[in-house]
Each structure stands twice: as structure tokens, then as C-alpha cells.
Subunit: 385 residues, 2 copies
């Protein structure tokens, strides 16, 4: 494949939350307008949008044509990617390839999920449709159930308690308290995190990402054009897409996610870097245990050692490897199909030095990781400012 | 964009119908196995799957990872494209670009829809979610309602009766009677077509495509590798993706579909041919009126003249431009997200000379057209045998 270098020249996000005054289309349009304004209003050639389930949440399919029309982009080719919780990164990956291959020059990549117009009970049930309906969800094994079993196994295998997981969540809320786009922009405490209600033992409420509405957008173009639009383009230097078996019980190893390992290997190779070169990252902490496995499978710490590394300050904003300066899925929020795009928008702001109170000083290289289900698929992207 | 020539080296289809003994995954796997066998079992590098609404029909999202795993293709990058009724062609278009750009060599493109596990009433309602939920579907304007208004306008504008539309449907059933994959492989009569129950006047039952389950698959690779696998590769020589406004009432012209015109223009240009060079085509006759507009917007007859052209034998199997030798959506069936892939599989069989009793003699160039909603988007592909 003949590759052009690809830059991000614009980002846009809505605050995540229970946005009852917004619809699927109004949310998406807001993110698009912000991204276009941020990029200096280039003419867009194509749209890729990530969304998990407008069908179930909003009784609306065929959404690429709808969203492009209502966002004022009618007429350009528009494509929806669905890949569960990784739909956002899937849209980025396909948009990246479209620009890299020369298929399109200016590509808008968006992600949107409008989840809160259904009941919390229905929304939780819909989120479970990213797992296997026949072997898992229908039998009552929800995503939180899978994560609870894995967290128990992790705790037993590596002899750790719930404290390191709670500490991760406290850090996420610390970060979110400095993020104007965050759903929960407030700090919490170890006491509150440890004593929050149990959801599926050993997972408590403060180990879980919330439900929420949100939309985010990016504008990609060939690096050679980027300087016309911004003085601080951010380049996508690595991209990888990994897969694993779909059903949890068919995995070789319950404490390691092959899809993350494979996507990271490919992204590091394309970028020509080792994990040590990464200055900060946005990862998929749908549950605190998922974050632990991810930090390990991305190659930053040994299996079982994440808790100790957090204790030693690894992931804090002023530590050697800040994780989720946005507050992550836990506290920035997790509007499913938009999450991968939020992750990348945050890293772009960080690499531009525009992340305000949550800025990681001197960040030059950032990584994003977005997974579907319990790691049935995974995308890793690496950015350089 | 640096383009490699792309060939189709394998096709697979299930018979369309109410397949109560099949699931989403078993259906898809059958089509994949047939396509792999047809191509001589190449090693597949990536999967693109078109599906409209496994979320609403089957309570299942994240289906690319699921389907690749159950079809025995675990580990390769798998991507789901959702674009309403054009999801199948959307998957083809993205698979075509992946091979053309050099991103992947051997790409499996599939389409699947398992619609009949819900009630007919629910399925009809779900199909309406490809139209605008806020401005159309919620207010009772279903897809058949839109088509009925357009058919009435067409009949008034061009002073034609229902007979030419019925004649189209009779031709579709004639063709399907020769197709082992067809949902309705039987002939019908003008009397039966004219006197079938009204659905939304002037549309009667025999003007409508049925609901049904089905899956189809294609294997694409660079043309330079194709000869190793088949003595009769079929080349994709043109591809176009057109868009229109999403809501019906915002269109400039209710009797012409801009998305079809634009996608056809781009596909003809890429192929370097005029409509006159097309030997046969598979088009999107979700309703007989849709077929009339399509035949006109693809550039084959003047506006309003399709009925007369059908009377003169234009579209019959031994006519100058056979339309839907498979029986079309009307009689081969319309498993929504799979339809675009069925269309292309049929054209491949025709260009190979393997279409049995429905073979169009000497066919060298074929065209497919797959649209979403009432032409919110459209794909045209042109194939050469």
C-alpha cells in the first residue's frame, strides 16, 4: 500500500452526559461544527462515523446518510462503521486508510451514541449485545459479569486486593475534575470508591464506566496540506487492528487480551517505536480491571504489576506514563460509539499543549486503545505532535 | 490513489427464504464456505460484512468479530458496514478499495440479514428505520408509503397505468423460476399481479419485495493473483458511491434519484464505458416503481418511458438489456444487508456463463445498483467477465 502521511487538523467534542435536550443528529452536528471550526473550515471529501447501536437506542439505521445531511455535509460519501464499543476507533482506522491511500483528502471522522433516551435498564441490556447473544448475554452473562470473573481471577492469581483498582478510579476522577468535557468532573476518595455499591463482586459501582450521551469528531488530511490549516498538526504515525475469539470462554488466557497485544504490535511497528517512547495514553477502562489488563498488554508493566505501578505514581498526570488525562471511560464518560474518537481528540489536545489544567507537560507521543466487548477486537493508534 | 485491478474469484449464496433452522451466524458461515470453495480456498486477509440491523432483528451488535470467528476466519481484521438496504454494496465498495489500494490482498466481502426471527409486523417496522425516524417513520410514513406517493406521481405525470409495473413483477417471477437461490421460484401472471391485495395504493402486494433471510459472499483479490485461483475471474472495472438528502420531502425532484445518477456517473467514468455497453444488470427493485426510476436514472431510457420499453421487451432475459436475471428483490428476495452482495454474485455467475437456465447469452459487462432508503445513498458497480 502506498502510504501518505496523515495529520489531524481539527477536533470537536460535546460534553458527555445525560443530554436530554439533544438528539442523535443534533449531538453529532455540534461535534462536527466544533471540529470544522477548529480546523479552519476545510472542504470535507468523505465522512466515516462510528456508532454502536442507533438501531436499538434510537430506532434509526442508515445513519451515515442521515448524519452527513444534518451536519451540513450532504453529498459526500458517508460510511458507518459498527464494531461495538470500538466503533469510534474503527471509523478512525478507516478514515486514516482513506487518506493514507489517497482515496480522499479531507476526511471527517465522527463518533456518536445517544443512549439515554431509553431506560437505564434497557440501555444496559443493549450494551450487552456487544457480547455473544447466544452463548453469553441471553444466559445472563453480561459484560460486567465477564469482567467480574476476570477481576476475581486477577486478584487471586496476583494476590492483590480491591484497593489498587479503587485507586485507579480515584485517579480518573482527579483527571476528569480538570476536563470541561467530562461527564463526572469531580474528585472522589478511596473511601467512596472502596465502599460504593457492589455491582457484581468484586466489581463495585466506582469500578464501572457510566452510561452517557456524546459525540466527537476529528478532521484528517494528508500531512502535506495540514500546515495550511493549522500550526500544530498531529500526525497518526501508527495504527493496528487486532482480533480475538468472540466468546469469552474460548480464550486461551483470561488475563491477557490478544487483540490488544496484536494491535499494539502492529501500531508500534508502523510507528517505529517501543512502548517506552509513549508520553501519555488514553485507554479503554470500561471497568478498572480492563484498564489493568490493557496497561499490561500494551507492554508497559509485567502481568499483575499494574497495582504496584499505580501505587508508585506511574499513571498520574505528573507521572512517567499519564493514563487517561481526560478522566477515561470511568469519569470523562463512555458514549459507546464515540469513545474511540473522544480518546483521540484528547490526545490531540495534549500533543498541541491545549489541554488546560490536565495538560501533560511536554507530551510529544500519545497512544489510544479502544476495544470491543471483552477484547473481541482492538485498535491501537499512535500520534505524534 | 494508486489503484490495483481487482477481480472476484469466488461467490457463495444461500437460498433466500424464511430460514427458521438457520441463525445469523450459521447463515453467514454457509455463504462464506461456498465462496471459499468456489475460489479454491485462498487464505483470507480481511473481512467486510454488510448488515442492516442485527441489533434490532437479533439483539446482536459487534457482528464483524462474531461472524469472522464463527466462519472460521478468526484473527483477520473484520469490519461491519451499515448503510441500510445498501449495506451489502457498502461492504463491497470498502472491500474493493482495500484491495485496489494495496491495503489487503484477499478480501472476503459478505452480506447477511436474519429478519424472520421477529414477527412480520416488527420486521416491517425495523425496515422502516432506514427512513428518517423523526420526520418520516414515527409519523407513519413508511418506505412503502413514500414509494406509493412517488408511483402515483409517476403515473399521473407520464400518464401510465399499473399494468407496466405489474408486467415488471411478472418478468421478475419468470426469471426467479430459473434461479435455485430465489425465495419465490415460481411464475405469476398479469391477472394475479394486477389483482393482488393493495398495500398502499397504487402499490399492490406484487409490486413489493418480500421479507426474507439470506447471506451471500464474494472473494476479491488483485487481478494479478486471480488466474492462480480461477480460469474465469471477473473484474470490477467501475465503482461509484452517491448520496442525496436523507428525508424524502427535501428532494428537488421526486421522480429522479440523484444518488443513483451520481454513483452511475462515477462508475461509468471509472470503467470508461457508456450505458450502452452494459449487457445485463441487477437493480434495486424494492418496489416496482423504484425499478422504473432506477432504469431511467442509470441512463437506459428517458424519464417516463420504462413501461413502454418493458412492453417492447427491453428487460426480458433475451432482450437487449436483461434486468435482474436472478428475479431481483421482488422474487429472488431481499435479505436487506445481503442484497447488494447477492446482486454482484448473480452478475459474476452470468459473466462466467454459469447462470444455468437464466443465463444471458454472451454477457460480458454487467452492472449492479444497490440503494438505501428511498435513494438516500446508492452504489453502482460495473463488472467485466
Amino acid at each position: 500500500m502506498v502510504m501518505r502521511k496523515v495529520a489531524i487538523i481539527g477536533v470537536g467534542m460535546t460534553k458527555v452526559g445525560h443530554l436530554f435536550s439533544e438528539s442523535l443528529r443534533s449531538l453529532f452536528s455540534k461535534a462536527v461544527r466544533s471540529a470544522l471550526e477548529d480546523a479552519g473550515n476545510p472542504k470535507i471529501d468523505a465522512l466515516y462515523v462510528g456508532n454502536m447501536s442507533a438501531g436499538q437506542f434510537n430506532n434509526q439505521e442508515n445513519i451515515a446518510a442521515l448524519l452527513s445531511d444534518f451536519a451540513g455535509l450532504n453529498g459526500i460519501p458517508a460510511t458507518r462503521i459498527e464494531e461495538g464499543c470500538a466503533s469510534g476507533a474503527g471509523a478512525i482506522y478507516n478514515g486514516f486508510k482513506a487518506v493514507a491511500s489517497g482515496s480522499h483528502d479531507f476526511v471527517l471522522v465522527g463518533g456518536v451514541e445517544k443512549m439515554m433516551d431509553t431506560s437505564t435498564c434497557d440501555a444496559t441490556s443493549i450494551v450487552s449485545t456487544v457480547t455473544d447473544q447466544e452463548y453469553e448475554a441471553f444466559l445472563g452473562l453480561s459484560l460486567v459479569g465477564i469482567n467480574a470473573m476476570v477481576m476475581r481471577l486477577y486478584m487471586n492469581t496476583f494476590d492483590v486486593g480491591r484497593e489498587p483498582f479503587a485507586k485507579f478510579s480515584v485517579q480518573m476522577h482527579d483527571n476528569a475534575s480538570k476536563n470541561p468535557y467530562a461527564q463526572f468532573p469531580f474528585k472522589t476518595s478511596m473511601d467512596k470508591a472502596m465502599n460504593s455499591n457492589p455491582v457484581a463482586e468484586p466489581i463495585h459501582l466506582m469500578d464501572c464506566a457510566p452510561l452517557g450521551d456524546g459525540a466527537a469528531a476529528l478532521i484528517l488530511c494528508p500531512e502535506e496540506y495540514a500546515k495550511k490549516f493549522t500550526s500544530s498538526p498531529v500526525e497518526i504515525i501508527g495504527a493496528g487492528h487486532g482480533m480475538d475469539t468472540f466468546i469469552f470462554h474460548t480464550r486461551d488466557d483470561f488475563l491477557s487480551l490478544k487483540a490488544i497485544r496484536d494491535s499494539a504490535r502492529d501500531a508500534y511497528r508502523m510507528a517505529g517505536i517501543t512502548p517506552g517512547k509513549v508520553d501519555l495514553m488514553e485507554i479503554h477502562d470500561s471497568f478498572s480491571i480492563t484498564a489493568f489488563l490493557t496497561i499490561e498488554d500494551l507492554g508497559f508493566v509485567e502481568k499483575g504489576a499494574t497495582g504496584q505501578a499505580i501505587d508508585e505514581g506511574l499513571i498520574s498526570l505528573d507521572g512517567p506514563l499519564p493514563v487517561n488525562p481526560s478522566g477515561g471511560l470511568k469519569a470523562r464518560g463512555h458514549p459507546i460509539g464515540a469513545t474511540g474518537v473522544y480518546q483521540m481528540a484528547e490526545v490531540v489536545l495534549q500533543l498541541r499543549g491545549q489541554a488546560g489544567a490536565r495538560q501533560v507537560p511536554g507530551a510529544e507521543t500519545g497512544l489510544t486503545n479502544n476495544i470491543s466487548g471483552f477484547g473481541a477486537s482492538s485498535y491501537v493508534h499512535i500520534l505524534r505532535g
